[in-house]
Amino acid sequence: MSAVVAAIASPGAEEIFRILTFRAGYNTSAVIIGAIMLGVAAGAIGVFALLRGRALMGDALSHATLPGVAGGFLLGTWMGFDPRSMPVLLTGATVTGVLGVLTVLFISRHTRLREDAAIGIVLSVFFGAGVVLMQVIARLDIGNRGGLQQFIYGQTAAMQGRDAMVLALLAVLVLLVSLAFLKEFRVVCFNAEYARAQGWPVGVIDIIMMTFVVLVTVVGLQMVGLILVVAMIVIPAAAARFWTDRLFVMLLTAAVLGGFSGYAGGAASAMAGGLPAGAVIVLASGGVFLLSMFFAPARGVVAGVVRTKRVHDRTNRQHLLRMLLEADEVGDAEGLTRTGVRSRRAWPGRSLGRAIRQLRSGGAIDVDPSGGLELTTTGREQAARVTRNHRLWEEYLVRHADIAPSHVDWSADLVEHVLSSEMVRQLEESVAARGGALPPSVHPLTGDPETAQG
């Protein structure tokens, strides 16, 4: 264990502080700033890639850059350039990366294979070609061929202030484009067929979107490496989705989460000197994703569990209220104890105890010394409302049995909020015609049902 810690290195508190505040030297700061900017750019564009169902496409794209990098190196050598010149290598990466995407699109459009299969094929074949070319390069007698490996795993150590500037420029550009085309991207991602019918050139809009995915991928190659760069695009966007139901907010959240992951990962790798920054950045965004998945209030797992629990509690309270009212209606409310309640309905686990406790603290029921449950005045009002609502919904389902129950809004507190007043009147009549009792509505049914909402 201590050997592991020693291998990771342990900076002092002062050093940590200097790293976090961008004062740990030119190189370290360039790396951290670059990582933040890449995170912002990838997070923002990733939102559209994710919503357009193109998340995996990014993976095909990044793997397909390898033959381009190696090919660019070979071609550059042959033509007498400095083979390690970045523009040559990145141009090669772009060319084969785009070729890979086009191949995926071609296969899925003109064959019956689904896109995931097409992506699997393209990703591995292009990567295989890249590995073969790398091997060819390794056997050539070229003086300086170091640095190519960095495209696979990423390498930040050599990062300069200029690279950070390029990444910052890219981040600004991606944000500007995302905002300018927010409307167009939204309609295409939401329903491309509708967009097409409305006359939007879906192909052009897709190309604009994919251009920035390609740019972020290619520029990010150096830093994170082609195996992990797709994570920068997918993870912050997916994490952001847990926090909001609005596209604009999701865009900003993804950019912030991406930037934060870059900052945390870049700083952590600087502290643990020698750990590959790309991998640490991806781990940081993985951590952000986990936190979002569990604890985001809008769609997180914990919030979901709590919501379900609340619905269960509410349903159980309503059942109990209704049961007490119905017992009242037939005149045997006296002495309806827990045992009596249990004999009329199955109450799993402690659900009955919870319902009684909650209703009591809400002042809806009283428990007399002998354990009998009694409705208070408030409780009686609540029970009447609940019972009326349930009976109307039941009647609705009986009368309109052709409608799938999932299309009926059971969750509405009051039937009047969902159905028109005329419909409610019809239902009331048909309940009465079948001899059923119906507590009166709390809302007068004269007005428009929409204005009664509140």
């Binding site: 167009e184 939204r186 019918a197 139901d245 596209l247 309109h400 809004d409 419909m423």
Partner: protein, 275 residues
């Protein structure tokens, strides 16, 4: 709202003089094929001018949705000519509204009901410009028209099935189109929604708009629609419901499927009833 006016008569009309330039939709000699199989052939149709509610009726696989999609330019046609108010579709897109089938929608998408309705205004807003307050207000009014005030900021999956359908109807309204194509707007909706949709369609008709719906339920065709297109890979018959929606034509459209004939018989029996 001014109906589109075209001073110049399109050239094609000289070739097919029977098609009047004012017809909201005229289809001449259209054939559509998927892969190797023709799905629609030799479609001839001309919608009457003035506000009409038109049902496309036919058995499963008859090509009802295909007909709509071909008119909207979403599917390539093998041959034929489609004109909307006397002009090709690509010139008239802004006055054509579309309500797609429910199944094609990604309900988990991060949009609110109001966001969806605003999409109907995008064409009016134009490239790269944000949705202004004026357009947002117009969208809000459309939501109110379909009875969904107060649900503007609901994410669309948190609406009931009928409410979802009404949101998409509101989106079509927001576009202020002249010709609407709707793919099964009544599929799987609750009675309240059905009523709301019918009301909106009648308002549109009264404003002189033409609405063409793929429709499944033969029973209420005479009640809801003015015109009918009986389709089974070709147009079996088309015209006013009273003359066209006959037992004989339905037999030709549906072949010998008994259950459907029962429905048709019911529908015919109900034709005399007030709507």
């Amino acid at each position: 709202m001014v109906m589109p006016h075209h001073g110049e008569r399109p050239r094609s009309l000289e070739t097919f003089p029977e098609h009047s330039p004012e017809s909201p939709l005229s289809i001449h000699d259209m054939t559509v094929a998927y892969d190797r199989r023709p799905v629609l052939w030799d479609i001839e149709y001309e919608a009457p001018t003035g506000g009409r509610l038109i049902a496309i009726v036919g058995p499963n696989g008859a090509g009802k949705s295909t007909l709509i999609k071909a008119c909207l330019g979403l599917l390539p046609t093998a041959s034929g000519l489609i004109e909307i108010y006397g002009e090709p579709y690509r010139k008239q897109r802004s006055i054509v509204g579309y309500v797609p089938q429910r199944e094609t929608v990604d309900w988990d998408f991060p949009v609110s009901a109001l966001d969806v309705v605003c999409m109907g205004r995008y064409g009016l807003i134009g490239w790269c410009r944000p949705v202004s307050r004026r357009h947002r207000e117009a969208a809000r009014e459309c939501l109110a028209k379909v009875g969904l005030s107060g649900l503007e900021s609901r994410q669309i999956r948190r609406l009931s099935g009928g409410q979802q359908q009404r949101v998409f109807l509101a989106r079509a309204l927001a576009q202020e189109a002249h010709l609407y194509f709707m793919d099964e707007p009544f599929a799987g909706v609750d009675a309240a929604t059905e009523r709301a949709i019918v009301d909106v369609l009648r308002d549109l008709r009264d404003l002189g708009r033409t609405v063409i719906c793929v429709h499944h339920d033969l029973q209420n065709v005479p009640e809801y629609f003015d015109e009918v297109i009986l389709l089974n890979m070709r147009v079996v018959a088309s015209g006013p419901v009273r003359e066209t929606f006959t037992e004989e034509n339905l037999l030709k459209t549906y072949g010998g499927r008994l259950t459907l004939l029962d429905e048709a018989a019911n529908a015919l029996a109900r034709r005399g009833e007030p709507g």
